[in-house]
Symmetry: C2
Subunit: 225 residues, 2 copies
DNA sequence: GATCGTCTGATTGTCGACAATCTGATGATC
DNA sequence: GATCATCAGATTGTCGACAATCAGACGATC
C-alpha cells in the first residue's frame, strides 16, 4: 500500500563510518595548509593522534589517494602529494575546459541560470566587507553551480576532484593583496553572456577569468620542476 | 659521485601488494562482463574464493570504487555500479571533450603525431583478419595515444578512468555485426587533419567518430532510467 | 490486521597482533 | 677503501577475531 509520507521532511540521519570522519579531518589539514605537500603521512601516528586503530586511518588515506591529495609507494610510505607547476597549469586548464563545456550545454539546453546571480551577489557583498573567505566560498559556489547546471554528473565528479586541489593551491598562496571587488566584477558579464545565449563571449570570458586565476609564483608551492 | 648505470635497462621488478592483484582480478571480471552491473560484491565470498583475508579484498574494492566500477552503501553492501543511459551519454560526451582538447593542444604545440599511424595501421590489419579484439585494442591505443600526446597528465588520468567504464559498456554490447573496416577507416583522416593543422576539421571528425560509437540500445545495459 | 519488539542471519566496520618490505647503518672481508 | 652481509628501526601489508549495523522474519499485543 503506497502511502504518502506521514511525517514532514525529517532529514535522514546517517551513521558515518570512522574512515569518513578521519578522511575529513586529514583532508581539512591538507587543504588548509597544515599538512603541506611532501609531508609524510604515517598511519600509526595519525591513529594515535585520533585515538582510533590503523584500519580506518588506512581507509581514510585511500580515500585521499583517490582524491589525488596523497600519493603512496607500496611498502615505502605515503605523503601529501607534492605540487608541480605543470600540475597547477593542468588543473586550471582542465577546469577551463570543463567550464566551457558546461556553458555550451547550458546554452544549448536553455537552462535557467538565475541561481548564478545569487552567488554573484554574495561575492559583491563579501567584497564590500573585505571578507576574503566568504568571497572564496561564494566564488566556488558560483563555479560549481555552473557545472551542476550543465546536468552532467560525471563531469561534476571530476570537477569536484579537481577543485579540491585548486583549493589546496589557493590556501598555499598568500592570498592577501588582491582586489576583491575586481574578482566579483568578473562574474556578472558571464551570466549576461549566457542569458543572451552568446556562447562565444561567455566562453571567452570564462577562459580569461580562469587564466588570470591560475597565475602563481613557483616559490609559493615549495617545489618547482 | 654520480655514475652512469653500469647495467642496461633491466626492468625494475616490483613487489605487488595483494590488494593490487585482487583489484586486477575483480576489475577484469567486471570489464569482461562476468560481474554484471548490479551484482553484489561481498568481501567474505571473494576472500574465500581468492584464498586471502578480507583486508586486501576490502582495499581492492576501495580501489574499484575510486575507479567508479563499484558503489557502496555504508553498513549495507557493495555492488557493481549499475549503468544508466544518462551515464553512458555522459561518458561519451566527456570523452569527446577530452579528445577535442587534446587535439587543440597537439596542434598548438605542433606535436609529432606519427605514432598514431602505427595504431591506425594495426587497426586495418586487425580488420582484415576479422579480429575484433585486436581492433578494439588498437583503437584504444590510438585514442589513448592521442590524449597522451597532449602531455596533460591530469586529463590522462581522467581519461583512463573514463575509458575503463567505456570498456565495460563495450563488453556488454553484443559487439558482432559491425563493419570492422569501416571503423578502421575513420582514423586516417583524423591523423591527416591534425598533421595539416586543420584543428576545426580534426575536432569535427573526432566528434562524429565518438558520437557514432556512443550509440547503444538501452536493453543492452540491463537497466534503463 | 496493524503496530511494535525481538530475534536472527548477513554484511560491513574496527581492532590488535604479526608478517613482509624497505632504508640506512654497521661492521667484516678482500 | 670498495664491496658485501647482516642487522635494527620504521612503515606498510595481511590476518583472524570481534563489534556494529541493517534488513527481514516472526510473533505478541492491542
Amino acid at each position: 500500500m503506497m502511502m504518502a509520507e506521514p511525517n514532514g521532511d525529517i532529514s535522514r540521519i546517517e551513521n558515518v563510518p570512522l574512515r569518513v570522519s578521519v578522511a575529513d579531518i586529514i583532508r581539512q589539514a591538507i587543504l588548509n595548509g597544515t599538512m603541506k605537500p611532501g609531508t609524510p603521512v604515517v598511519e600509526m601516528a595519525l591513529a594515535e593522534q585520533l585515538q582510533v586503530s590503523r584500519a580506518p586511518v588506512r581507509e581514510a588515506i585511500q580515500i585521499l589517494e583517490a582524491d589525488g591529495l596523497i600519493e603512496s609507494e607500496p611498502y615505502k610510505g605515503k605523503r601529501v602529494k607534492p605540487l608541480t607547476l605543470k600540475e597547477v597549469e593542468e588543473l586550471y586548464s582542465l577546469r577551463e575546459q570543463f567550464e566551457a563545456f558546461a556553458i555550451r550545454r547550458i546554452v544549448e539546453r536553455q537552462v535557467d541560470v538565475s541561481e548564478l546571480r545569487r552567488h554573484s551577489d554574495a561575492m559583491f557583498e563579501a567584497a564590500e566587507r573585505g571578507d576574503f573567505a566568504a568571497l572564496n566560498t561564494a566564488d566556488e559556489a558560483f563555479h560549481r553551480a555552473l557545472i551542476r547546471l550543465a546536468d552532467h554528473d560525471l563531469m561534476l565528479g571530476f570537477w569536484d576532484n579537481l577543485y579540491l586541489r585548486i583549493r589546496q593551491i589557493m590556501a598555499l598562496r598568500n592570498s592577501a593583496n588582491r582586489d576583491l571587488r575586481a574578482v566579483a566584477r568578473n562574474h556578472p558579464p558571464i551570466i549576461e553572456a549566457i542569458e543572451s545565449r552568446d556562447m562565444i563571449r561567455a566562453i571567452s570570458l570564462i577562459s580569461d577569468h580562469t587564466r588570470s586565476a591560475s597565475q602563481i609564483a613557483p616559490e609559493e608551492l615549495g617545489i618547482a620542476p
